[in-house]
Symmetry: C2
Subunit: 382 residues, 2 copies
């Protein structure tokens, strides 16, 4: 890739980062937003479900090694926090200022997806509420460039709807977070009240892997649990594709025509063969799902967008262009860094040899459209 071209043209290019992992440093950071009973439970028992058997086998506890120093240690207390950003000033300086990020979608560190895998629905929903309140007070209020994806308990649709209606009108809230793993795929009618609330509040859906095979969720694959982190990582496309397929064939987009979905950190090259296969199979089988009125790929191209990180790196230098063309062009993709995880994508390093219009789509326009974003300068002018 030609980094010089990338660096020169980025000076005038808006940059939206759609996957920035923020978290709390200590459990006690959430206590002010929890009842005494729940705060004690959280202090003593945490989530109460296992996480981390697919430990991040890279960086320092999953975090970029260059971001770990004496002032910014890796907290051992909490695996998912440890890999994420817990210092707002440091994040403003290193990520936003350091990379010229105009807007950053804060996606948390798996709180909502993990809470959704708990047995106690009310405790789980309370943790989501606490994390949202913490995020608004300690992150969103600190910089006009931050945006928030609300954490909700997807297995408690009524609780999720209440949370979406409680905070969905906040100007910095632009989406909800869903995990990929769940007892049932996310197109299922069980979840439709959640999407109705999203539409009512003008929110998109952001989907991120992380809680597959955890808590009440089924194992991560039809063949159960793989042994190693790299294997689980390589299965990510399946975590997303089952939900892409479910959204389409359960008729979610016929029912909620304005709903937009952003799929984060799952790559996108796998989408091309899936789109071909969806259209082909639909021709032969559509009588079972007559509410799917258009070609399935059409729904995907209208409603679902994919974040770029971790960027595909095929051997054939033309492969990426070819794949992006097959899935519908750069309008399907939006940049994400995955800051501060060890395998983050540096905006100065990716897509350097793509044309400017192409890069503008991916670095800002798709995300702005998908999440209904307004740039800080634009809102200040208004």
């Amino acid at each position: 890739m030609n980094n010089e071209v990338g660096m020169r043209s980025r000076k005038k290019m808006t940059l939206v980062d759609t996957d920035v992992h923020h978290t709390f440093k200590s459990k006690s950071d959430l206590f002010p937003y929890l009842s005494k009973f729940n705060a004690e439970r959280f202090a003593e028992w945490g989530f109460g479900i296992q996480v981390g058997y697919y430990a991040f086998n890279g960086g320092r506890a999953g975090r970029r090694a260059d971001l770990v120093d004496e002032k910014n240690p890796t907290p051992g207390e909490f695996v998912f926090s440890g890999a994420s950003a817990y210092d707002v000033e440091d994040t403003r300086k290193r990520l936003l200022d350091g990379n010229g990020v105009d807007l950053a979608l804060l996606t948390g560190s798996g709180i909502g997806p993990l809470a959704s895998a708990m047995t106690d629905l009310d405790y789980a929903s309370a943790l989501c509420r606490a994390f949202n309140d913490f995020s608004l007070e300690h992150w969103i209020s600190k910089d006009p460039r931050f945006r928030l994806a609300l954490h909700i308990n997807s297995q408690d649709p009524a609780g999720a709807v209440a949370e979406i209606d409680r905070l969905g009108s906040h100007p910095a809230v632009c989406a909800i977070m869903l995990g990929c793993g769940a007892p049932r795929p996310f197109g299922h009618r069980f979840y439709h009240p959640i999407y109705e609330a999203c539409v009512r509040n003008g929110l998109a859906v952001a989907m991120h892997f992380g809680a597959e095979g955890v808590g009440t969720n089924p194992p991560p694959s039809a063949a159960g649990f793989s042994s190693y982190y790299i294997e689980n990582r390589l299965m990510r496309p399946s975590f997303y594709s089952v939900n892409v397929v479910s959204f389409v064939f359960e008729g979610v987009f016929e029912k909620f025509p304005s709903l937009k979905i952003g799929m984060l950190e799952g790559g996108f090259a796998w989408l091309a063969p899936l789109l071909w296969r969806m259209d082909l199979d639909w021709k032969g089988l559509r009588r079972q799902t007559p509410w799917v009125k258009k070609r399935p790929s059409q729904y995907v191209k209208e409603h679902i967008r994919f974040a770029t990180q971790p960027m595909e790196e095929p051997e054939d230098p033309n492969a990426l262009k070819q794949i992006i063309d097959w899935i519908g062009g750069p309008r399907m993709l939006m940049f994400s860094s995955d800051y501060p995880h060890w395998d983050w994508d540096d905006p100065k390093m990716i897509l350097g040899d793509f044309p400017e219009e192409f890069r503008r789509r991916i670095f800002s326009e798709t995300a702005i459209d998908t999440f209904g974003l307004t740039l800080p300068s634009m809102s200040e002018a208004a």
Copy 2:
């Protein structure tokens, strides 16, 4: 596609069909090969596990409608049998003679993969043995063009090894059948005695979806059960890819350097992005699996082959050639018809506009290499 070219050149082209579904017509066909106790159990209880909630939503009970007539009814008694071929003379005439098939790998109708999802290991292994004996007596002995993939109970490695050693030296037996769904992925060391027995008997491994989410197997995805047949069908790449990844990263091919695996009815376009991602992730993460000494894609290219059916049909006519090139060329692919299922691929209809050398690889050479096949005419000459 240019069918005329295809029809002309096929006259001199050897044709190997790597996925032909044969079965028994009535449960009583298996009684002679079962103990009295097991025969009674099979008569009264069948498999005792649920199948068919993702019913074949095509053809007549999943079977090509043109193959169903008064003489060849669709037996309602047994869903998996109903879709498969139960009349050996009819199959010889319609499939072998009718399409100029030189060799047909009989893959059964899911008996082994389903038996592997039962709780009673001995009963399950007994059903596999009975089906193998039935297949040898009533199919293999009837035509020198038939070859057999042995059905084994993958969750009873000792029982599977005994069955492989019992029948593995039969000249028509060239592989074992594995399902894709299982309590643990198929690269796991739990299964290594099975691969050791395969190598000892010169057998390949054939892998076929069908028992995902059935019996003791986990749900078919990290998000549980999809609602509709088309969704389950679209998830097939994930059923195979978790096992591709498992074979490579558990070091199966380092341990069994001569083992060959044929993946049937899962397509192949999804493999290209997986190979890229495997190599990329391995560069950053290989310290956890140091026994993976070569680039992961290299193991796949040396050991795993993919059957063509159901053939991909991208909109872009060049896409198929491009994808096949990315995965390693036509030496990675072998023709399969999936006879007599409703969505079978007619050898007269596919790949007609590909060059002759390319088609020869796919229509016979890859399968001959993978399964160590000898053509009937060649063995007669020997």
